[in-house]
C-alpha cells in the first residue's frame, strides 16, 4: 500500500513544479520515537519537497502530533534521521527554529496578556519588529480586539491569534496541527492566505477532517500505529481506505 515517494513526485504535475525549486524541505529516514515502552513513530521515511503540502491523517494516538513536534524540534527522535531545510535534527535544531511556524493544539499564548502583548513578546523572541505584529493582527482580523486579554476571547479568536503567532516571523515551513479547529467558516477563510495553500509555503498539516485535508494536500501520509499505512498522492487513497484508517 505504501507508494514510493519518487513516483509521486514525478507523476503529480503540481509537485513536478515545486520539485524544480528545491528538493526535500523535510526528509525523514527511519524516524522512530517512543513514549516509554510505546512506539509512537515506527521507522517513518518520507520526503516533502519545498512548497508542497503534506497532510497527515490517522486516528487519535496514531502519531500525528508527535511527528509535528519532532519536526518542530520540540521532541528528539529516538532513531532514524530527520532533516529539515537541510539541517539535521536534533543536532542542528537551533539553525531551523526561526524558520518554522508551529501551530499546535495549544495556542502558546499567555491568558493574562492581550493578543498584542503576546505577539509582541513572540516578536521580540524572533527578532521581529512591532510593525509586523500589527500586520499579522490585522491579517487575522484581531486588530480591534488586540488589547483584550486572551482569557476573555472566544476559542475561535484565540485560534486566529495562534495563527498570527505561528506566521509572525515569516517561517519557511508551517507545521499545523488541526489548524482550523474552533474556527468558523469566516475565520477559516481569513487565515487561508496565511497558512493555506495560497501562502505558498511548505506545510505539514494534520486534520480529523480527511476530505478537507486531502483537498489542500500534495502528499498524504496515513499513519497507523506509528507506521505509514499510505504515503502518496491524494488521488491514490479512496474513501474506503480513509474510513478504515479511522476505525
Amino acid at each position: 500500500m505504501v507508494h514510493a515517494l519518487t513516483h509521486v513526485v514525478y507523476t503529480t504535475p503540481r509537485l513536478v513544479r515545486v520539485r524544480s525549486a528545491c528538493v526535500g524541505a523535510i526528509e525523514l529516514t527511519g524516524l522512530t520515537r517512543r513514549f516509554g515502552e510505546r512506539l509512537v513513530l515506527n521507522g517513518l521515511s518520507l520526503s516533502v519537497p519545498a512548497g508542497a503540502s503534506l497532510a497527515v491523517l490517522g486516528r487519535n494516538g496514531a502519531g500525528k502530533t508527535t511527528l509535528l513536534r519532532v519536526l518542530a524540534t520540540l521532541l528528539a527522535p529516538h532513531a532514524g534521521n530527520v532533516s529539515v531545510l537541510g539541517e539535521e535534527l536534533p543536532r542542528r535544531g537551533w539553525a531551523v527554529r526561526g524558520r518554522l511556524g508551529f501551530l499546535g493544539h495549544e495556542p502558546l499564548l499567555y491568558r493574562e496578556l492581550s493578543g498584542r502583548e503576546n505577539l509582541s513578546y513572540h516578536a521580540r523572541l524572533h527578532g521581529v519588529g512591532p510593525q509586523r505584529v500589527e500586520q499579522v493582527l490585522a491579517a487575522v482580523g484581531m486588530a480591534r480586539r488586540g488589547d483584550d486579554p486572551v482569557r476573555s476571547l472566544s476559542r475561535g479568536m484565540v485560534q486566529r491569534l495562534a495563527v498570527a503567532r505561528a506566521v509572525l516571523h515569516a517561517p519557511e515551513i508551517l507545521l499545523l496541527d488541526e489548524p482550523r479547529s474552533n474556527l468558523d467558516p469566516a475565520g477559516s477563510e481569513l487565515i487561508e492566505g496565511l497558512i493555506g495553500r495560497p501562502a505558498g509555503l511548505t506545510r505539514v498539516l494534520t486534520s480529523h477532517d480527511p476530505e478537507a485535508a486531502l483537498a489542500e494536500a500534495d502528499l498524504v501520509l496515513a499513519l497507523e500505529g506509528g507506521r505509514a499505512a499510505y504515503l502518496g498522492a491524494p488521488e491514490g487513497i479512496d474513501a474506503a481506505q480513509i474510513k478504515e484508517l479511522y476505525r
Binding site: 518542530a72 524540534t73 520540540l74 521532541l75 528528539a76 537551533w94 527554529r97 526561526g98 518554522l100 508551529f102 499546535g104 495549544e106 495556542p107 502558546l108 499564548l109 499567555y110 491568558r111 493574562e112 496578556l113 502583548e117 513578546y121 513572540h122 521580540r124 523572541l125 524572533h126 527578532g127 521581529v128 519588529g129 510593525q131 509586523r132 500586520q135 499579522v136 490585522a138 491579517a139 482580523g141 486579554p149 503567532r165 506566521v167 516571523h169 515569516a170 477563510e189 481569513l190 487561508e192 492566505g193 496565511l194 501562502a199
Partner: protein
Amino acid sequence: MSGATEVETASAGASADTPRPPGTLATAAAILRKDLTVELRTFETVPAMAIFTVATFVIFHFGLQRDTLSGQLAAGVLAVSLLFAAILGTNRLFVAEREQGGFDGFLLAPVDRSAMFLAKAAALFLYMAVLELVAVPAFALFAGPPRLGSALGGLVLFLALADIAFAVIGTLVSALAVHTRARDLIGPIIGLPLQIPALICFALGTGHLFTLHGSQTPPGEWLLILGLYDVVNALLAYAVFDFLLEE
C-alpha cells in the same frame, strides 16, 4: 482594509522584514518583562509570599512567647521565613510556562535558552526584594531585634546576596522539577538542602548585626562566603540550564 489586502500586506511585510534573532540579554529582558506584566495583572506570587512571611513572623512571635528577639535567634527567624517564602515563589516560577505553553513558545524561538534562566532568576530576585520591603518592617514589628535601624545597611547587603542564592538555586530547581508530576514536592526537597549554605551565611552574618553589643559593620567573611556561593551556583546553573529545558 479588506481581509485579502491585509493578508497580502502581512505576506509582503514578512519578506521585507527579515527577522534577526535577539541576543541573550535582549531575550532575557523580553521574558522578564512578560513575567512582571503577568505578575502585575494577577498578583499571584508576591502577595502570597508576603502573607506567608508575615504569618510566619506571627507564629514565631506567639510560639516563642517573646516580644523581642536578638542575635542568632532573630537572624534565624528572619532567614528561615524568607527561605520558605522563596520556596513558595520558586514553585510558581514556571507555572505559566507549563500551563499555558510558554515553554514550547520559547523553545520554538531561535534564542539562547540560558536567557530563560537569567529572566526567571531576575524575576525571583525582584519578587524577593519586593517581599522584603514588607517582611523587614513586619520582622521589626513582631521580633523587635535590637539595633535594626543601625544594622539596616549591613542587612540590605546580606539580603541582596541571600536573594541571589535563593533566586539562582530556586530557578534551577524549579526548572528541574517543572516537568515532573511531583513538582511541588521536588522543589523543596532538592532546593532546601542546596540553600542551607546560604542560610548559614545569612544567619551567622546578620546574627552578629542583631546583637546588642555587636559591631555595626557587617561581618566580611560571611558576606564573602555568601558572595562566592552565589557566583559558583550562578555559573553552575547557567551551564546546565539548557539541558533542563530539553524534553
